[in-house]
């Protein structure tokens, strides 16, 4: 390799990156988001185990009520071996239909890697932020592989009193995920077929069942419920829909025992911790999410509105104004709007009343600087 080339690229990188002068650090936002990660992290499905389960995944729509895609019919035999650990590495392994897989956590690097036939060895991300923080488990998922061989890596920390998780399949099969102690915490992990359906996930301590989770869609564990607790009733609502730049967009909300989740036109799903975090008295709106960066033609902005707001007028960065009407779902009121990729909301005014011909009563207004 030419030293001149290296010197040249160094110089050019310095000139290109060194001149970037970002605004001050968003300290409060980072701390708040970090606390959210730590305390109320979503759990996402799990799996793994030390048993063989034949899955005839043909359940009548666990998720049919959500209007989501129909369940994919596949047959899988999942086998999860007892996990092995060394000080530097925790290894989960097993087979899916006889094809071996391996999932490794590297303690020193904090990286997660999945390997196996049909899977390109890839770093699935960092497990640095895993901590159950009072929840029975904090499981993260990451896609591995593609097509028919698509797998879902499920791995995470469980609360110290949790001995194992039971993944109950709709057909009656159960997959047990035994926790293993490693570096002072308890862990579970496995690879499962990406479209494997789960009826529920139950967390057990030495005393018995301590919590259960009903997945959103096929296998995404969002929130945990105590035994006997029912959670939210199943309900869905079209929060907003429209056309922008010739493309159709929508946001659909789903309430159920999993909590609250939203699916957006681009196929993105997010499950904010809106439950239990209703807008405080004196506040009018809170932003939940924005999606669509990364080359999308437009962005979707989602938020929650206070109960007495009939509609919002939201001014965009180009000066245009959008009128949005919050839609009730599970006792909350949500709204969504779309903007082109280069625009964003900058201020809002909340109204009560019909709003036609200016008859709405102004409840409050504010400036906002959400960033996508």
């Amino acid at each position: 390799m030419s030293t001149d080339s290296e010197r040249e690229i160094r110089g050019r990188l310095d000139a290109a990156l060194g001149t970037i002068d970002p605004p001050g650090p968003p300290v409060h936002a980072v701390l708040r988001r970090g606390r959210t990660i730590r305390l109320r992290r979503r759990a996402v499905v799990a799996t793994g185990l030390a048993a063989v389960v034949g899955l005839g995944i043909a359940l009548p729509g666990l998720v049919g009520h959500t209007g989501a895609e129909p369940p994919v019919r596949h047959s899988y035999v999942v086998n999860v071996n007892p996990p092995r650990s060394t000080p530097s590495k925790l290894t989960f392994s097993g087979t899916i239909n006889g094809r071996p897989w391996r999932l490794e956590l590297d303690w020193n690097r904090g990286n997660l890697t999945a390997t196996g036939p049909g899977l390109v060895q890839n770093a699935l991300g960092s497990v640095s932020d895993m901590s159950p923080a009072g929840q029975p488990a904090d499981l993260s998922e990451a896609g591995a592989g593609s097509g028919a061989g698509a797998r879902l890596a499920v791995v995470g920390e469980v609360r110290r009193d949790i001995r194992y998780l039971a993944l109950n399949q709709p057909g009656g099969g159960v997959v047990y995920l035994n926790a293993i102690r490693w570096h002072g915490a308890a862990w579970v992990g496995a690879l499962i077929p990406e479209n494997q359906q789960l009826h529920n996930v139950v967390a057990y301590s030495a005393r018995g069942e301590v919590a259960y989770a009903v997945p959103f869609r096929a296998n995404e564990v969002v929130g945990w419920l105590r035994p006997g607790q029912h959670g939210l009733a199943r309900q869905q609502a079209r929060i907003a829909t429209g056309m922008l730049a010739g493309k159709h967009w929508f946001e659909q909300g789903y309430a159920g025992p999993w909590g609250l989740c939203f699916r957006e036109g681009a196929g993105t799903t997010f499950c904010p911790q809106a439950e239990g975090s209703r807008i405080r008295p004196g506040h009018f709106i809170s932003w939940l999410s924005c999606t669509g960066t990364g080359g999308s033609a437009f962005q979707l902005w989602s938020g929650q509105a206070a109960p007495d707001i009939s509609y919002l007028r939201i001014r965009m960065s180009d000066g245009s104004v959008q009128r949005v009407v919050p839609v009730p779902l599970a006792g909350y009121r949500f709204f969504a709007l779309a903007s082109s990729a280069h625009q964003r909301p900058v201020s809002w005014t909340a109204y009560r009343g019909s709003g036609y011909r200016g008859s709405g009563q102004v409840l409050g207004a504010g400036r906002i600087s959400p960033r996508c």
């Binding site: 690229i9 050019r12 001050g24 650090p25 990286n111 640095s128 998922e141 993105t268 799903t269």
Partner: protein, 167 residues
């Protein structure tokens, strides 16, 4: 987390923010995405700050999160981006302000595969050793060398960058 740890983390963040955004810019080619990436990495680091601090090298830890987060940015099935009222409301860098040189370099960088781009930015902009880059990316030193070599070869062939880059 204790107030002391919060203070310590805040100082850490204030000292690294600009550098991390620049790294994010190098990885994504977009300042806003770079800021998002830095914010994501710092949030995750804060969520596990006692553990991160114990590693003895929180900088490496945060960089690793950034590289991984960027790698899985479009692969994640779900998105968890929260909007806040506190995020500074600044305009994006106007395209007109971006020099031709920078634009050409960033276009060439963005044309590289993720891994090669990360190697170039970490190795040649952050001046990390090959061993450090390997540790950050979770691969071997040999892999870093070959990725760097391929990346430089591609950059040399890029129109607008070729001048001054000797083979």
């Amino acid at each position: 987390m204790t107030a002391l740890a919060d203070t310590e983390f805040t100082e850490f963040m204030q000292g690294r923010w600009a550098q991390l955004v620049r790294l994010g810019y190098g990885l994504t080619g977009d300042q806003h995405l770079g800021e998002d990436l830095a914010q994501t990495a710092l949030s995750r680091a804060y969520a596990s700050w006692p553990r991160v601090r114990r590693t003895g090298n929180p900088d490496a830890y945060v960089r690793r999160i950034m590289v991984n987060a960027n790698h899985s940015r479009f692969r994640k099935r779900r998105v968890d981006e929260r909007l806040t009222g506190e995020v500074p409301d600044t305009a994006a860098m106007a395209a007109a302000d971006v020099s031709d040189d920078r634009a050409a370099l960033m276009a060439a960088l963005m044309a590289l595969p993720d891994g090669q781009r990360a190697v170039v930015v970490l190795r040649y902009w952050m001046d990390m050793s090959e061993t450090e880059v390997a540790a950050t990316l979770g691969c071997s030193v040999g892999n870093v060398k070959s990725q760097a070599s391929r990346a430089l070869a591609k950059l040399r062939l890029t129109k607008g960058l070729a001048e001054g880059m000797k083979p």
